[in-house]
């Protein structure tokens, strides 16, 4: 018998958390080159998005196919501030002078010069948009499938909007050539490392937050809404609010991830927002296991890593593999790899484990 299984879930969580911290804060920086570490920073940003999707989709049954929008809102909010900071007080960002031929900074850019406003906006702006769309859609009981398609349409519309406003958003280019991060020079590898540590810290903090949410009464209610929304309604809850909370939290996480992506990679562009990247955010979650806490994180990192590694040598093969992952995992292993582990464990122990909410694989979905 594995001695770990004798520990209480809480102690195990604490141990896992410590292990994660050791891997992210000690092992990875020690073992990886600066370049690989910066790639890991990027993957961890995707993992943060995945944590939110895991909550909304895995636990809440909300297939959020528009996370790119929130990622982009957070990223643009951060990039706008950094561009303004690079340009210096009273100056306009370089691209605006190049393409926009504006006489002065547009009014909606101005508040982003304030770092506090910009930082708050990276999280609050996506949450606000999610709240708006979510309250419209959930309250009117739009069906799950409609919600998924509307999310995609939102992503497409957002891209078109951003690209169309080249003078003030940088168009297809997005916002590039970001030099500093709150006064620190991003060219310096030491500062790149700092960005990595911040991202890793945020990821761990959000994991703790999400674990708390999943194990709270709200987490149980969310699963109940996923499995039988109508029944929850007859118990006197408004499922729209329950879903809205998960959706808004997931949007906030995506926004934060987008904001951290900017200093890590140095660019935010519409290419990260549209339908395709939005669906790609989901694939890691599906592969890792949508309903588990760590599944989405590990899945997102693994898929992003595989993409980098494989596309270096076999660009066409990667597309096939990506497609095949969607097909095989979603159709035949809906609980993702996390459920595989559970299945193996169960087989070895040959007795059904004490059911603990959430670590179970879901096979049902809110169809209504």
């Amino acid at each position: 018998m594995n001695p770990l299984t004798n520990l209480s879930p809480r102690v195990r969580a604490w141990l896992g958390f410590g292990l994660g911290a050791v891997v992210l804060f000690a092992a990875a920086p020690a073992l990886l080159t600066d370049f690989r570490l910066s790639l890991l920073a990027k993957y961890l940003c995707f993992a943060i998005v995945a944590v939110g999707i895991g909550l909304a989709w895995g636990r809440g049954g909300l297939l959020t196919l528009g996370q790119g929008v929130f990622f982009g809102l957070g990223g643009y909010a951060m990039a706008m501030h950094l561009k303004l900071a690079d340009a210096g007080e009273g100056n306009m960002p370089d691209f605006m002078e190049l393409y926009g031929q504006l006489d002065e900074l547009p009014a909606w850019w101005a508040p982003f010069a304030n770092p506090v406003f910009a930082l708050a906006a990276t999280v609050l702006l996506p949450m606000l948009v999610a709240f708006g769309l979510g309250s419209l859609v959930f309250r009117r009981r739009v069906r799950g499938a409609y919600f998924a398609i509307l999310s995609q349409a939102l992503a497409a519309a957002m891209v078109i909007l951003l690209i169309g406003q080249q003078g003030t958003t940088g168009g297809t280019n997005g916002l590039t050539d970001i030099e500093g991060f709150f006064g620190y020079d991003l060219d310096d590898p030491v500062n790149q490392r700092m960005v990595y540590f911040i991202i890793a810290g945020v990821l761990l903090a959000l994991l703790a937050l999400t674990r708390q949410l999943m194990h709270s009464r709200y987490g149980e209610l969310l699963v109940a809404v996923r499995d039988s929304e109508e029944r929850v309604r007859f118990l006197g809850y408004n499922p729209a609010n329950v879903k809205l909370v998960a959706y808004v939290v997931a949007a906030g996480m995506a926004g934060l991830a987008g904001a951290l992506f900017v200093p890590a990679v140095g660019i935010i562009s519409p290419a990260l927002i549209g339908i395709v990247p939005s669906i790609e955010f989901v694939i890691g979650v599906a592969v890792g296991g949508r309903a588990a806490l760590l599944g989405p994180v590990l899945g997102a990192v693994a898929v992003a890593w595989a993409k980098t590694a494989l596309s270096e040598r076999f660009p066409g093969t990667w597309t096939y593999l990506q497609g095949a992952m969607f097909v095989l995992v979603v159709a035949f292993l809906p609980g993702g790899l996390a459920s595989l582990w559970g299945l193996l464990k169960r087989r070895r122990e040959a007795t059904p484990p004490a059911p603990e909410v959430g670590e179970r694989v879901l096979v049902k979905e809110v169809a209504a």
Partner: protein
């Protein structure tokens, strides 16, 4: 819980689906604490009536409970007024445990702060309901793995902790064994009195054993109403409902309604 149970009062209730009149001007009064059985042939509008009262389908007319108008409110608002219901097929959260099912049912009024924390101990009303429905031993079992009868009891338990003062039960004993029926009937008898209970049922034996009063629906209208004896002796009922079996006590094709 010693709140005064309210009475249900329905006036001129009408439900129309795409031109088809499912409920056609029903007037119905259920006194506080009554255990009312609602019977009628397939398509009589029994379930639709319950759907209308609980806000699932749109209806015209009036349905008041404890003095509050129900029609036109959202489903969850009606539930918060103390109206609870079950469905023909058990609707539980199968991925959650018995305890979690009950805890959720008990929690519609919880503050956001409570919601965001873990459940500490088992709340008293939940423990009491577990005892009442006899599932204390199985509280950590997934609801999906319960036996059929136990699922129905769990549903009733959920209505209890939900603190519903009007219980609308759609065929609660369909598919149950004889012993389970007896137990369920006794449970309903215990619940009524403090609360008002309306049961849709086909099983005539069960009805005779436990009903306080009976309403017969036919083609969207109330055909007859009264005690079991009064209804059974009503010639209109014998004509349209019991039909060929008039005078005998044959139960009507049981559970044929899908």
């Amino acid at each position: 819980m010693s709140e005064t149970a309210g009475g249900l009062s329905i006036r001129g209730l009408r439900v129309v689906f795409d031109g088809f009149v499912a409920v056609d001007g029903v007037d119905l009064d259920v006194a506080p604490g009554d255990l009312r059985f609602l019977i009628g042939p397939n398509g009589a509008g029994k379930t639709t009536l319950v759907d209308a009262v609980t806000g699932l389908v749109k209806a015209t007319g009036s349905a008041r409970f404890g003095g509050q108008e129900l029609l036109g409110r959202d489903v969850h608002r009606i539930a918060r007024l103390g109206v609870g219901r079950t469905f023909q097929t058990a609707a539980l959260f199968e991925e959650l445990t018995v305890l979690q099912n009950l805890d959720i049912a008990a929690g519609a009024g919880r503050s956001p702060w409570t919601m965001l924390r873990r459940r500490g101990a088992v709340p008293d009303d939940v423990a009491y309901a577990l005892e009442t429905i006899g599932l204390t031993e199985r509280r950590d079992v997934l609801a999906g793995t319960l036996a059929h009868g136990q699922k129905q009891w769990l549903e009733i338990g959920m209505l209890l902790v939900q603190n519903a003062r009007l219980l609308l039960l759609d065929e609660p004993v369909a598919g149950m064994s004889h012993e389970e029926r007896e137990a369920t009937g006794e449970l309903l008898g215990k619940v009524a009195g403090e609360r008002t209970v309306v049961v849709i049922e086909h099983d005539m034996d069960f009805l005779r054993r436990f009903a306080h009063t009976v309403t017969v629906l036919h083609a969207g209208r109330v055909l007859s109403e009264g005690t079991v004896a009064q209804v059974q002796s009503d010639p209109k009922v014998q004509e349209v409902y019991l039909g060929h079996a008039a005078g005998h006590d044959e139960p009507v094709a049981q559970g044929a309604e899908t």
